[in-house]
């Protein structure tokens, strides 16, 4: 069974540019999450989808970040315009359900974003 995949693995952009990150969850997982780890800090929750609906986007830093999950399959996270403080590793995770025992979140390898 394929795991969570993310594309690209690295992205280097200049301040003010736009970047779109993609996440493909494990097939059949309705729940998809985005997290971010800024260097030296903890991994922080950004948002959670259940199928195509945003369940919780309380962790999104500001309105420069837009996440979508059209059709309830893969998800994209767009940063527009990117700022220096957006640099970090963006992780995507997916889980089958939300109840204990089915809610284990499986993480992708992450996208390392560098904003110059």
């Amino acid at each position: 069974e394929a795991g969570v995949t993310q594309f690209p693995s690295h992205s280097v952009i200049e301040k003010g540019q736009t970047v779109t990150l993609r996440c493909d969850p494990i097939s059949g997982h309705d729940n998809l999450y985005w997290y971010r780890r800024v260097m030296g800090k903890e991994i922080k929750f950004l948002l959670h989808f259940v199928k195509e609906s945003k369940q919780d986007e309380s962790g999104m830093p500001n309105n420069r970040f837009l996440a979508e999950r059209t059709g309830g399959t893969y998800s994209t996270l767009k940063v527009q315009p990117a700022e220096l403080e957006d640099s970090g590793v963006y992780f995507c995770a997916s889980s089958l359900g939300l109840g204990r025992g089915t809610d284990t979140q499986y993480f992708g390898p992450g996208t390392r974003l560098t904003v110059l």
Partner: protein, 112 residues
């Protein structure tokens, strides 16, 4: 405001010995705790979890202990192996079922 704290950024242990990784939390609403392991250039991988109704959970060489009154948990690895060298993240949630709250991680190095 960091609610899950791992105060040791790194730990070095000899192969065959016990590794003990510690984690403290501040939110009394947390009722489910997890440990994730992360190798370089990979995403975190789920290792072991514990519900707040238990004080111990064991899986092979890995045991997690929970002390609710102290808001403290620890991960014991016995015996430690060089392949255990990785960054270990403690995480917690509050029955919301989704948003995991992570610590900053502890880098474990197991030397031969």
């Amino acid at each position: 405001d960091q609610q899950v704290k791992q105060n040791s950024p790194s730990l070095s242990v000899q192969e065959g010995r016990i590794s003990i990784l510690n984690c403290d939390y501040t939110n009394s609403m947390f009722d489910y705790f997890l440990w994730y392991k992360k190798y370089p250039a990979e995403g975190p991988t789920f290792l072991i979890s514990i519900s707040s109704i238990k004080d111990k959970n064991e899986d092979g060489r890995f045991t997690v202990f929970l002390n609710k009154s102290a808001k403290h948990l620890s991960l014991h690895i016995v015996p430690s192996q060089p392949g255990d060298s990785a960054v270990y993240f403690c995480a917690a949630d509050s029955n919301s079922g989704y948003a995991l709250n992570f610590g900053k991680g502890t880098s474990l190095l197991v030397t031969p």
